[in-house]
């Protein structure tokens, strides 16, 4: 069967997709947290910068962000390795989604918690990291995982930009196996599910573990 015959190729592509996903999460999640913090910060210029960034990136098609990183940056003289550019594009695009997920969780924490933290002399950073974020975590986990699942699928855009990821393995195998097109695509879908289903379960697990007794 075509899926098992081509397991090494699928696996090679799967690992690329996984690498795109993990590298982007590692970069975009902290960036998203910073953006979320900027959006609730007491300093107006930080709030404005974060808001403009979020609105622009969140409302731009991902393909345009890729074109920016792969076409516009080289024109400006910034030529990066393909993998670097792909992770950059995915990070720039995904960070605002993480930021919004985190911000919605932060907004769910009563304002008195932050006031109490500030009143005992905590800086803004301490207030966010020691008091607000730990309480926001639980309500933030499900939307964050949703963003990750969307990101998993979004990595396929990199397939049009010189990265041999899962979607490309499907295109190659379809071309070579015109007699088993549907099976090839089932294989591709199965590998995506291999990422997204455990992510959903991780969400359930974390949600159960990080219970806050109120």
């Amino acid at each position: 069967m075509v899926i098992f015959d081509n397991l090494p190729l699928y696996l090679e592509a799967f690992l690329q997709t996984l690498a795109l996903l993990l590298l982007t999460i590692v970069l975009a999640l902290p960036l998203g947290a910073v953006i979320a913090a900027m959006r609730i910060s007491p300093i107006g210029s930080l709030r404005a910068t974060a808001t403009v960034y979020t609105e622009i990136l969140r409302n731009t098609p991902l393909v345009l962000v890729f074109i920016f990183c792969f076409v516009v940056l080289p024109i400006l003289g910034v030529i990066l390795p393909f993998m670097f550019s792909a992770v950059l594009a995915l990070t720039l695009y995904t960070a605002p989604f993480f930021a919004e997920a985190i911000r919605s969780g932060i907004n769910g924490v009563p304002v008195g918690q932050a006031e109490a933290a500030r009143s005992i002399g905590m800086t803004f950073g301490q207030t966010v990291t020691l008091v607000v974020l730990p309480q926001a975590i639980r309500s933030v986990i499900p939307p964050i995982i949703n963003v990750m699942i969307a990101l998993t699928k979004n990595t396929s855009i990199a397939g049009g930009f010189f990265i041999f990821e899962l979607f490309n393995s499907g295109r190659r195998l379809v071309n070579e196996n015109g007699d088993q097109v549907i099976l090839v695509l089932v294989g591709v879908a199965a590998f995506y599910l291999l990422i997204t289903i455990p992510l959903g379960q991780l969400a359930d697990f974390l949600e159960r573990r990080v219970v806050i007794r109120r």
Partner: protein, 302 residues
């Protein structure tokens, strides 16, 4: 769940196609169409056969009766199938589609064009969503197991495009271990990886390869010579083709499996166009603006 439904649906469609195909075995003789020669001046206004007659029950008879047919082609392939602003594709594939349709009494504007890419050519033919696929579609044995091919109507060959000043790359063997750009899911892309050990930098349309090639992020791009020629032509003094073609890519017309009557009809149509010069004229007016007109290939009557 959704996936399963699609699978079942596709299987059912495939079975239906197989059943209808069995209904017309041995009806090998093509219908005697009224003899016409291409009379229009352009590639898409060929003289249409007037009420051609075909043996009852054949695909040709059904299409002639319907007065329309569905053809799958590429919408993003310069010189062969590139969709214009009016929604109709232009190029040599579109002209060949026009040729076949005209013999069925169907004018160009009655053809329903459907975009076919590598992932849907076979499924579309198997389920009857298109009557033919004319889409720089290379004939090979695996595909022959699920669809029939008429033709070939053109033989392309894989070639290599590099920067004008490049002297290191002279043959495909020189690409081993080097970064080469091509469209994933195309036969030349697989070939350069599997036969020559290049490191493929895959993309989805050929034009995207040009910037990385100019920036030195890849040393070459590869695909069929006809496509590469188009890029050389569009960027004078920037790129050049290297060496001879090193594969044979016979482009065929994909048809429903085991519809022998239809395949014979299309083959005869092509042969007639080779013989009376129509084929050469159509090529000259489309891909011929960039590529010299070749001699017609030999039809594969398997």
């Amino acid at each position: 769940m959704k996936l399963r439904k699609i699978l079942i649906g596709t299987a059912a469609a495939a079975v239906a196609v197989a059943l209808t195909a069995c209904g017309a075995p041995g009806s090998a003789t093509s219908g005697g169409s009224t003899s016409t020669s291409a009379a229009g001046a352009g590639p898409y206004d060929l003289a249409v056969a007037e009420s051609p007659t075909f043996e009852a029950g054949t695909t040709m008879a059904k299409l002639a009766e319907a007065g329309t047919m569905k053809i799958g082609t590429k919408f993003d392939q310069p010189l062969f199938g590139l969709r214009g602003l009016d929604g109709k594709p232009v190029g040599f594939d579109a002209a060949i589609g026009s040729l076949v349709a005209s013999k069925l009494g169907i004018p160009f504007d009655k053809i329903e064009w459907t975009e076919t890419v590598s992932a849907n050519r076979e499924p579309f033919l198997q389920s009857g969503q298109v009557d033919a696929v004319i889409a720089t579609y290379t004939i090979n044995d695996k595909r022959k197991q699920v669809v029939d091919f008429a033709g070939p109507y053109f033989v392309a060959g894989q070639s290599i495009l590099v920067l004008e000043g490049n002297t290191e790359i002279t043959k495909p063997e020189d690409l081993a271990g080097k970064a080469v750009c091509s469209v994933e899911g195309s036969t030349p892309a697989s070939n350069i990886v599997e036969k020559y050990g290049a490191v493929l930098q895959p993309t989805d349309v050929y034009s995207k390869c040009l910037d990385p090639l100019k920036n030195g992020q890849v040393v070459a791009m590869t695909t069929d010579n006809v496509i590469l020629s188009g890029f050389v032509d569009q960027n004078p003094g920037v790129f050049k083709l290297v060496g001879d073609t090193f594969t044979q890519e016979p482009y065929g017309i994909g048809l429903t499996k085991d519809d022998t009557a239809m395949r014979t009809f299309v083959n005869e149509t092509l042969q007639a166009a080779y013989d009376d010069g129509t084929w050469a004229r159509l090529f000259e007016q489309t891909a011929g603006t960039v590529i010299p007109v070749p001699t017609p290939p030999t039809i594969d009557q398997y």
